[in-house]
C-alpha cells in the first residue's frame, strides 16, 4: 500500500466522522473505483464482522484483481477495531481544558482548578491540603444572602466550587472524605452563631482536620515506618510519595544506613523529584525504570510505596505501576509496605483499575528517543488511528501487600475494614 492510499483513507475516515455527527450520508470523497466499499461510513455495529468474512472469502480469488482495494479495506477495519478498542477507556476522564467557571465560582477555586488540571498540584495529600486551604478562603469571603442561613446556604455555595474543581480533575478520595467531613460540620454548626464566628469556627475545624488527619498522622506513620528500616537494608520505592520520602529522610537522619532504589516510569517520571531530594540528603540511591525491576528485585529487603486510597477489601489504589512492583516483590518474597493515612480509606470496593481511573498527562513521548529526525516531525497527537493511553492509577490486590502502615499502627491489608469507622466519622 502506498503512502498516498493511506493518506486518502485517513482523509476519508475523518470526513466520515465529521459527517456522521450531522447524521447525513457521507458523500464519497475522492473515491477511487476500487476503494469505494471501505469508504462507506465505518458504522461500528454489525457490518464489521460481515465485511471481515467477506474479505477472507474473497482473498484467494481477488489476489490479482484489487490488491490495493483489499489492503485499504483491511486497514479501514483495523482502524475501526482499534479505535473501538480504545474507546472503552473513554470513561477515564480525559484531559480537559478547564471549563469556564459556571456560576459563582471563587477566583481562588478557578486558580486551584487550573493547578489541578495541569498537575501543578498532584498527590492525594497535597491536593487535599490545597483544597481545604482554598475552602477556608472561600468561607471567609462568603456572605450569607438575605433570607437564608449559613448552615443551609454555605453547602450549596461550596457545591458549586467543588463541581468546578471536579471539572478540572476528578476528585481524589482524600478530598472526598475531607469535604464530606466539612459539609457535616457546616450543617451541624449553630444556627444562632454570628456569621463571622461561624466562619471562624469552620476554618478552625479545617485547620484541625489538616493537622490531625494529615500532618500528625504522617508523623506517626514516619515514626512507625522508620522502625522497619534497618542498617544495611536496600529499600525500593516506586514513583514518589510524600510519606515515603519523609520516612526515608527520617530514617537516614536517625543514623540508619541503607540504600534506596527509586523505580520510575513514563510518562510522569515523578521519581526524579524524590531522587533529587534523597540524593541531596546524601542517601545512596539507584534510579531505574520499571522494565529494569526484574533484574534488581532479588537485592531488595523491603518495598515502600504510598497510596492514593485504600479500599475496604485492602486493595491499594495507587500510581500506575505500583501493582506491578508489588506483585514482583511478592513473587520474590520481598515484604511490601504501604504507607497510608486512615483518611485515605475509601468505603467502596473496586475489583480492577479499569472501572475507575484517570489519564495521566501525556508528557513528552520522545524525550529519550534517539532523535534522528527533528523533534517537530515526531508528533503523535492528532492522528485518528492513534490514541495514547496513560492510566494514572492501578489497583494492587491485598494479596501482594504485606503490611499497611497507618497512624493507628501497622496492620495487614485484610484488616483495614476492622479499623473502627468512627475514626473517620467523629463529629
Amino acid at each position: 500500500m502506498t503512502k498516498a492510499e493511506r493518506r486518502e483513507l485517513q482523509e476519508r475516515q475523518r470526513a466520515a466522522k465529521a459527517t456522521g455527527k450531522t447524521a447525513a450520508p457521507p458523500p464519497p470523497v475522492n473515491a477511487k473505483p476500487g476503494a469505494s466499499r471501505p469508504s462507506q461510513p465505518p458504522t461500528p455495529a454489525s457490518p464489521a464482522p460481515k465485511r471481515g468474512s467477506q474479505a477472507r472469502g474473497t482473498a484467494p480469488a481477488g489476489a490479482t484483481t484489487g490488491k490495493g482495494a483489499k489492503d485499504a479495506k483491511s486497514v479501514a477495519e483495523d482502524a475501526v477495531v482499534r479505535s473501538r478498542g480504545l474507546r472503552i477507556f473513554s470513561h477515564f476522564a480525559l484531559q480537559r481544558t478547564v471549563a469556564h467557571a459556571k456560576g459563582d465560582v471563587h477566583p481562588a477555586i478557578v486558580h486551584l482548578g487550573l493547578m489541578f488540571a495541569e498537575f501543578k498540584v498532584s498527590g492525594a495529600n497535597a491536593r487535599c491540603i490545597a483544597t481545604l486551604s482554598v475552602f477556608k478562603q472561600v468561607i471567609q469571603d462568603y456572605t450569607t444572602p438575605t433570607h437564608n442561613t449559613l448552615t443551609r446556604h454555605l453547602n450549596t455555595h461550596l457545591s458549586v466550587q467543588i463541581s468546578h474543581l471536579v471539572s478540572a480533575r476528578p476528585m481524589a478520595v482524600t478530598m472526598g472524605s475531607a469535604i464530606r467531613q466539612l459539609k457535616l460540620e457546616i450543617s451541624g454548626s449553630d444556627i444562632d452563631l454570628p456569621e463571622q464566628d461561624a466562619k471562624d469556627a469552620l476554618c478552625h475545624k479545617i485547620d484541625n482536620y489538616i493537622r490531625d488527619r494529615i500532618i500528625i498522622a504522617d508523623q506517626v506513620i514516619q515514626e512507625t515506618a522508620t522502625k522497619k528500616i534497618h542498617d544495611g537494608d536496600v529499600i525500593l520505592t516506586y514513583a514518589r510519595s510524600s510519606v515515603v520520602e519523609n520516612v526515608l529522610l527520617e530514617a537516614w537522619e536517625e543514623g540508619t544506613r541503607f540504600s534506596v532504589y527509586v523505580v520510575d516510569s513514563r510518562p510522569m517520571l515523578e521519581g526524579k523529584r524524590l531522587l533529587s531530594v534523597l540524593v541531596a540528603a546524601s542517601i545512596p540511591c539507584t534510579y531505574l525504570l520499571l522494565p529494569a525491576l526484574g533484574s534488581v528485585i532479588t537485592e531488595i529487603s523491603t518495598v515502600f510505596v504510598g497510596a492514593h486510597s485504600i479500599h475496604s477489601n485492602g486493595a491499594v489504589y495507587s500510581r500506575a505501576g505500583t501493582a506491578l512492583v508489588a506483585m514482583m516483590a511478592k513473587q520474590h518474597s520481598v515484604p511490601v509496605v504501604v504507607c497510608c493515612e486512615t483518611y485515605k480509606f475509601s468505603e467502596g470496593v473496586q475489583l480492577d483499575s479499569f472501572t475507575k481511573n484517570e489519564l495521566a498527562p501525556n508528557g513528552d513521548l520522545f524525550s529519550s528517543f534517539p532523535l534522528t529526525r527533528p523533534r517537530g516531525s515526531l508528533t503523535l497527537q492528532n492522528q485518528t488511528n492513534l490514541e495514547i493511553l496513560n492510566p494514572l492509577y492501578d489497583l494492587t490486590p491485598p494479596s501482594s501487600i504485606t503490611a499497611v502502615v497507618t497512624e493507628v499502627g501497622v496492620i495487614p491489608p485484610d484488616s483495614i475494614s476492622s479499623i473502627p469507622l468512627a475514626l473517620g466519622r467523629q463529629v
Partner: protein
C-alpha cells in the same frame, strides 16, 4: 491451681513478699545484683523471675503480675506518673530478659488496660488498689484460659488422630491430655534442639499413657505424611496473624502447607501482641550475632605444608598418629566422637522464629477459634480503637 493463685496474689505488705521470696527462692534472689534493688527498693525483674517460677505462669502473665506489683509499690500520685512508671518498668524488664517478646505482649496489654481504665474512684490511691485488684483477678482468670482452649481444640481432634507437635508448650500439653480422656490419640514430638524440650513433652505424655515418639527436628518432613495435623503452642501471636514460637515452627508450618496438613496454633489471648514482623529478622530478639559467619581459622600457608624441610620432625609424628588411628578403626569400634555444637555455635542460632499467617490454618484462643485474619482484626479492634 488454687495453690498457684494464692502464690501469685502477692501479700498486702511490700515487706512480706520480699521476705517470702528471699526465703523460698533464695537461689534466684541471690542472682539479682544488689545495686538494682538499692535503686528503687522494688526490682521488677526480681518479681518477674519469682512469678515465672510458677510452672503455670507464662511470660506475658508474669509481666502483668510484676507490673501489678509495680503499681502496688509505686508512689505515683497521678495517672501520668503511674503510666510512666509502668512504661519504665516494662522497659527495664525488656532490657534484662533475653527474649522479651512474650513479656512485651503482657506489658502492652496491662499498660493499655491501665490507660483506658475509667477513673471513677474518688482518690488516686483507691484507683491504684482497684488496678491491682483487677490485675490479680485477670491473672487468676487467665489460668482458666488453657482448659478453655483445650476444650475448643477437642472438637478438631478426631478419634485415632496422629498429631505432630513441636517442643514443649503448656497449652498444647493441656489440650493433648484433655483429648486423651475422650479420644485415642498418638503424638509425634520433635526433639527441639538445643534445649531438648521435646523430651519433656515425651515424658509427660508417656506418663499419661499417650503413645508418643520423639522425632528429630530434621525428620519433620519425613514424618509429615503420617500426621493428621500439626498442633503448636506459641510465644506470641502477632498482628499480621502470624506466630512467634520456638525455632523450628516455621519449617514445620511450611512442610505442613506443602503436604496440605492443617497447622493449628494454640494461644491464650494475652499472648496476642501488637507487633508486625515483616520478616524473620524483624523480631525484637534479633541480635547482630545471630547467623553471623565465623572467620575460618587461618590454615597453615600451603608452602609451609609443601616443604617438608620446614618441619621434618613433626610430620612423621602426624603420619604415625593417623595410621595408628586408622588401624585402630578397623579393629576396634571407634571411640564415640562428640559431634555436638559448642555453646558459642548455638548462640549464633535463634530461639524463636516467625511463621507467616498464610501458613497457619487456625488459631485457638480463649476468645474463640480464629483465622489468622481474625487475629489481626481482633488486635486492631482492641488497640487501634
Amino acid at each position: 491451681m488454687a495453690v498457684s493463685t494464692s502464690d501469685i496474689a502477692s501479700p498486702a505488705q511490700p515487706g512480706a513478699f520480699t521476705t517470702s521470696s528471699s526465703s523460698s527462692r533464695s537461689i534466684l534472689t541471690h542472682s539479682i545484683p544488689e545495686d538494682e534493688e538499692a535503686f528503687s527498693g522494688f526490682d521488677i525483674y526480681d518479681s518477674y523471675r519469682r512469678i515465672l517460677c510458677d510452672p503455670q505462669i507464662s511470660a506475658p502473665l508474669a509481666a502483668i503480675l510484676s507490673l501489678t506489683e509495680l503499681v502496688e509499690q509505686s508512689d505515683a500520685g497521678t495517672m501520668f506518673e503511674l503510666v510512666k512508671a509502668l512504661n519504665d518498668g516494662a522497659e527495664a524488664l525488656k532490657k534484662r530478659v533475653h527474649n522479651p517478646i512474650g513479656l512485651n505482649a503482657g506489658s502492652e496489654l496491662f499498660i493499655a488496660f491501665v490507660t483506658l481504665f475509667p477513673h471513677e474512684s474518688a482518690s488516686f490511691s483507691e484507683l491504684r488498689t482497684e488496678l491491682v485488684r483487677q490485675g490479680q483477678t485477670y491473672a487468676t482468670e487467665a489460668l482458666q484460659f488453657r482448659p478453655k482452649i483445650a476444650d475448643l481444640a477437642l472438637d478438631f481432634i478426631k478419634d485415632d488422630s496422629v498429631i505432630l507437635t513441636h517442643s514443649y508448650s503448656r497449652v498444647v500439653m493441656q489440650a493433648l491430655l484433655h483429648a486423651h480422656q475422650r479420644k485415642r490419640i498418638s503424638v509425634y514430638v520433635t526433639e527441639a534442639r538445643p534445649r531438648g524440650l521435646g523430651i519433656k513433652t515425651y515424658e509427660s505424655l508417656t506418663a499419661a499413657g499417650i503413645p508418643c515418639t520423639v522425632v528429630l527436628d530434621s525428620a519433620v518432613a519425613y514424618v509429615m505424611d503420617q500426621v493428621d495435623f500439626v498442633l503448636v503452642g506459641s510465644e506470641a501471636v502477632v498482628e499480621s496473624g502470624g506466630l512467634i514460637n520456638a525455632v523450628g515452627s516455621n519449617q514445620m508450618a511450611i512442610i505442613a502447607k506443602a503436604e496440605n496438613k492443617p497447622f493449628y496454633a494454640l494461644a491464650e489471648s494475652y499472648k496476642f501482641h501488637r507487633l508486625f514482623p515483616l520478616s524473620q529478622y524483624d523480631l525484637p530478639t534479633h541480635t547482630p550475632g545471630i547467623l553471623s559467619f565465623t572467620q575460618p581459622p587461618l590454615r597453615p600457608a600451603p608452602e609451609l605444608v609443601a616443604r617438608p624441610s620446614v618441619s621434618p620432625e613433626t610430620q612423621p609424628v602426624l603420619k604415625s598418629s593417623i595410621s595408628a588411628s586408622s588401624a585402630m578403626a578397623g579393629l576396634l569400634p571407634p571411640a564415640p566422637v562428640q559431634r555436638t555444637m559448642t555453646a558459642e555455635q548455638i548462640s549464633r542460632n535463634p530461639d524463636v522464629d516467625y511463621t507467616r499467617p498464610d501458613l497457619i490454618s487456625l488459631v485457638f484462643s480463649d476468645v474463640g477459634i480464629l483465622t489468622p485474619e481474625g487475629v489481626s482484626q481482633y488486635l486492631v479492634g482492641m488497640f487501634a480503637g
